[in-house]
């Protein structure tokens, strides 16, 4: 099975800012640094990491909300088409936006409070000129609402009239409007309660099946990511440090950071908790503006193998077992 | 973060540029006004020769740019030139003479506004929707919407004329109000101007203190301060007030600046010979040196007060770094 939908190569997105009036100095915040991965059609890649690791920036770069500084993003809407996301012209950009959509984290701020639902969901239809005439547009919006479990009578209501879970459904309907092949989901359930979260996650899985979409699922909640994803990529200070099949990464994590992350996750199962070995990381997350030299995790790593190497040389992501990649000197022979 | 000295030096350097800019704009705008200062000074019946003589004396016969440069040179030497209207008196001397009375009632207005508004705003926020809160809201709404000059005239009509409690126009010997006794003794004479100027300030300060306080007392750290077992007094005065005052400080700084604008109206209404009166008269009589000098001093005041507010800010709120 090799039918890639998305290929990302050495992607970099740095944010720059300057400080100082007399002696101006430019700083780079390396939000996404040298990230490469491939996502197959209809699959879900979970991206996990702590706040500030750059996972949201990665998602926004993929949907062309940010322009990358270097690297390649190739999109294959079908087997014979390749879209170069970084160097797209206007026509291609339109096609890319049809193919890739995003659902945002906060359903309160990502929906325009002064627009009724029919305009929020219908907007992508207008921009991409997907509907012919008002009637067809309205029917399309009703279908989209139906798909996410909302009713036609919701058409003329405003976002504040909905609960958090329903608002997230509206966001999903908007993303589905252009019939995308890839949806970037940025923490889609972090703002809702557990019982509602289950409903939204079930809906997302159902839609994926029905519409043959691939997901890039960004979350800090490892339990949710595990439930949703076929593959997992672990991001730390802008870099992907481990990437593999979901089961492999969760059952046999390779990178010390992944191990710590998993051991730190409280699992709702007291017996599991009672026997779990905890790795407590010392120190705080370094600043992404001046990340540590060498392996970025070395300042907190409990398993330093080679003092010199870990502190001075940056490990590359390499395949250790089939489909399981890790960037760590431990696995260097 | 940079050192305090470096910060002040930087601000002063910017101030010089601002002053030059303001001077340039004022200079050319002023000379664009219709009417010849020399003609205004001599009146309709002055002879052409006399007017020409004065124009030469005042340097008005020279090209604009020469006048512009010569004034600039004067300012660099720390002088302000001579007034047209009161020729040959120095502008500085005029301003020095007029300044004390404006400073006097202006300072009291601010003292009055701050002393009343902060406790009132705090009390109102602390007991939201109580009687005191309603009173505070009413005062701030009325105070903000009343025009200064109207309030002044009403106060004269009612308090001074009808009730006869105070003089409608202050009758205090020049300079007496800045003696230790006079500072308080003159209050009775200046109470109406103080109320006139102070009410607007009081209103906006009360409103700001109240809303800022309302926001702060909902903060987690206030709940936590209560959970520590601290008394309400400590919670409000120590933990809430200092945070709530941060926006109020800016507002009070701004009010110092508004004083000058307010002074023009107030001094006209109350017949006080202060800076405001000087300003408006200078404009009417085309006394350009005075107009330019006052505008520049005002600009300097703006810069200085902003600097003081910034420094105060950094003192109250450790999160603010001077930049």
């Amino acid at each position: 099975m090799n039918d890639p939908l998305l290929e990302v190569e050495n992607l970099k997105k740095y944010f720059t800012f300057t400080r100082g009036l007399v002696r101006r100095k430019t700083y780079y915040l390396r939000a996404v640094d040298n990230v490469s991965f491939t996502l197959q059609r209809k699959r879900t890649l979970g991206v996990v990491g702590e706040s500030g690791c750059g996972k949201t920036t990665l998602g926004k770069t993929l949907v062309t909300l940010y322009k990358p500084d270097s690297g390649k993003i190739l999109l294959h809407p079908d087997e014979n088409t390749t879209l170069d996301v970084v160097n797209a012209n206007d026509d291609e950009l339109k096609q890319i936006r049809r193919t890739v959509q995003m659902v945002f984290q906060d359903p309160h701020s990502s929906l325009n409070p002064r627009w009724p639902v029919k305009n929020i969901v219908g907007e992508p239809l207008d921009i991409l000129k997907l509907a012919r005439g008002r009637k067809e547009r309205e029917n399309m919006v009703i279908d989209l609402l139906d798909e996410v479990g909302l009713k036609p009578e919701h058409l003329n209501r405003y976002p504040h009239e909905f609960s958090g879970g329903q608002r997230q459904r509206i966001g999903i309907a908007r993303a589905l409007a252009s019939d995308p092949d890839l949806v970037v989901l940025d923490e889609p359930t972090s703002a809702v309660d557990v019982s509602v979260q289950a409903q939204v996650l079930n809906l997302l899985k159902e839609l994926q099946e029905k519409k043959s979409m691939a997901y890039l699922f960004i979350s800090h909640d490892l339990g949710v990511v595990h439930h949703m994803s076929d593959e997992i990529a672990v991001q730390y200070l802008g870099e992907i440090v481990e990437h593999g099949d979901s089961e492999n990464v969760f059952n046999e994590p390779l990178h010390p950071y992944t191990k710590a992350l998993l051991s730190a996750l409280p699992v709702p199962d007291p017996e599991f908790e009672a026997h779990k070995r905890r790795i407590i990381l010392k120190g705080t997350l370094p600043n992404a503006v001046s990340p540590p030299k060498g392996c970025r995790f070395h300042t907190r790593c409990p398993e330093l193998v080679d003092e010199y190497k870990c502190k001075n040389e940056c490990p590359r992501l390499k395949e250790v077992s089939k489909g399981h990649k890790v960037a760590c000197w431990i696995y260097d022979d | 973060m940079i050192g305090l000295r470096e910060y002040i030096a930087k601000k002063l350097a910017i101030a010089v540029l601002v002053l030059i800019g303001v001077y340039t704009i004022t200079f050319f705008l002023t000379f664009m006004l219709p009417g010849d200062p020399a003609r205004v000074s001599l009146g309709q019946h002055g002879s052409e020769e006399a007017v020409e003589l004065i124009r030469q004396q005042w340097g008005l016969d020279e090209p604009r740019y020469v006048q512009y440069v010569s004034y600039l040179q004067l300012f660099i030497q720390g002088e302000m030139g001579k007034s047209f209207r009161y020729y040959p008196r120095d502008v500085i001397e005029l301003i020095r003479y007029r300044f004390p009375v404006t400073a006097y009632y202006g300072l009291w207005s601010i003292i009055f506004a701050v002393a009343v508004s902060i406790p009132l705003g705090v009390a109102a926020a602390y007991k939201q929707n109580s009687i005191i809160d309603n009173i505070a809201v009413l005062i701030s709404q009325i105070g903000v919407s009343l025009p200064n000059f109207w309030l002044g005239m009403m106060l004269i009509a009612i308090v001074a004329v009808r009730l006869g409690w105070v003089n409608p126009v202050p009758e205090v010997e020049y300079g007496y109000y800045w003696t230790p006794i006079g500072f308080f003794a003159s209050l009775k004479d200046y109470i109406l101007p103080i109320l006139t100027v102070g009410t607007g300030m009081l209103a906006s300060n009360t409103r700001l203190t109240r809303s800022s306080m309302l926001e702060i007392i909902r903060e987690d750290y206030i709940t936590l301060a209560r959970a520590k077992g601290l008394s309400e007094r400590t919670v409000v005065l120590k933990h809430a007030l200092r945070n709530a005052l941060i926006p109020v400080v800016t507002n009070v700084g701004l009010q110092f600046l508004l004083l000058v604008g307010g002074a023009v109206l107030t001094e006209t209404v109350f017949g006080i010979n202060g800076i405001g009166k000087l300003y408006i008269d200078a404009i009417n009589y085309r006394d350009y040196p005075v107009v330019i000098a006052l505008t520049l001093i005002y600009t300097g005041g703006v810069v200085l007060i902003n600097l003081i507010v910034d420094l105060l800010y950094a003192k109250i709120d450790p999160r603010v770094s001077l930049r």
Binding site: P268, D269 | L230
Partner: protein, 349 residues
């Protein structure tokens, strides 16, 4: 825990909020007890009243809130000494005068709030904020208080303590701030701490450290902890017993192993099943149909009945009372027998 000593009994606590939209019936008869030295978790979704419970007990409700009914019996001799109560037996916190309540707060019980970014006063140094409690409740001099504050900072591994002591909150990271909040809550060695979502705003690895610290400090000071959270993972990790709250009532109480293995209230069952777990992979998650009720017009009878698969007529009419269904396992449900029967059926299969 064989001979457990009761620290606090909450009985029939009723709290209302008077808002412009109407009266919010936030707590409708809350019952639970906390033992000495244990961690009791109050679990529930947004708006179930778990935070209101702690604020009602601490008597820190905002002006719009009022506790109408109930008792909070506190068994602690030292607290009685500090407050000045001579009477035998426990005292009722809700009956203290406001002056007495001041002495109780911080000394008998303290609070840890959710967001470390907003729970420290930005304009005072960390040292000031710690010393304040020490001087208030332990009557220490400036010098002694500073010494003890530095010691506390060392205890929570905030070193060099002298440096941290002089810092302002904005100069510290979220994890460091939360440790300072913990220090403040422990400074007067209270008998009970309410920790309201203490780690929700933190990253997983930082959260692990803060939870670890909370556990250590609790042991060291022999404090009881009421942990308020929506995160079932954290509950499984740190609590001893759990109370599940739904729409203003505690509907089930059990020790944590029982609660996760054999939940008996239909809501608890739904809640636990709805959480995705890394220990098992399912295609679909089960969920609770419907949404959390509006507490201005809550459902009649058992507030869970509109979403409950076991609901019968009586559920719509009367609120069930808390019954000890199995030893130390309390459930508030009219149809708990049916639930148990279903469980047994499942076990047979």
């Amino acid at each position: 825990m064989a001979d457990k000593e009761i620290l606090m009994e909450v009985k029939d606590l009723v709290t209302r909020f008077y808002t412009e939209d109407g009266v919010v019936k936030a707590l409708e008869g809350v019952n639970f007890a906390v033992y000495k030295g244990e961690t009791f978790a109050l679990v529930g979704e947004t708006g179930c009243g778990k935070s209101v419970t702690s604020l009602s007990i601490l008597r820190l409700l905002p002006v719009s809130g009022k506790t109408l009914r109930g008792e909070v019996l506190f068994h602690d001799a030292e607290s009685k000494k500090r407050i000045g109560i001579k009477k035998e037996g426990p005292f009722d916190i809700l009956k203290l005068t406001s002056k007495q309540a001041l002495r109780m707060r911080g000394f008998s019980m303290s609070l840890i709030t959710q967001d470390p970014m907003t729970s420290l006063n930005p304009v005072y140094t960390v040292g000031d904020q710690i010393m304040e409690v020490l001087q208030l409740h332990k009557k220490l001099s400036d010098k002694q208080a500073k010494k003890e504050a530095l010691q506390l900072l060392e205890d929570v591994e905030l070193t060099p303590a002298e440096d941290i002591f002089r810092k302002y909150p904005h100069q510290l990271s979220g994890g460091q701030r939360q440790r300072i909040v913990i220090v403040i809550s422990l400074a007067a060695e209270p008998a009970l701490i309410f920790a309201d979502e203490p780690t929700t705003a933190l990253d997983v690895t930082i959260q692990a450290r803060v939870l670890e610290l909370l556990r250590e400090m609790k042991e060291e000071f022999n404090t009881s902890l009421v942990l308020i959270t929506h995160n079932l993972g954290i509950v499984a990790e740190v609590s001893d017993r759990i109370g599940v709250m739904y729409a203003g009532r505690v509907v089930e109480i059990a020790d944590k192993y029982t609660m996760f293995k054999r939940p008996l209230h239909p809501y608890t069952q739904g809640l636990i099943a709805a959480v995705p777990k890394i220990t098992e992979k399912k295609d679909t998650l089960s969920f609770i149909a419907g949404t959390v009720p509006n507490l201005i017009r809550p459902p009649s009878g058992c507030r869970f009945h509109p979403r409950c698969p076991y609901a019968t007529d009586i559920c719509k009419e009367k609120i069930p009372s808390m019954e000890e269904v199995e030893p130390d396992h309390f459930v508030e449900c009219w149809n708990v027998d049916e639930v148990i029967k279903d469980l047994e059926k499942e076990e047979c299969e």
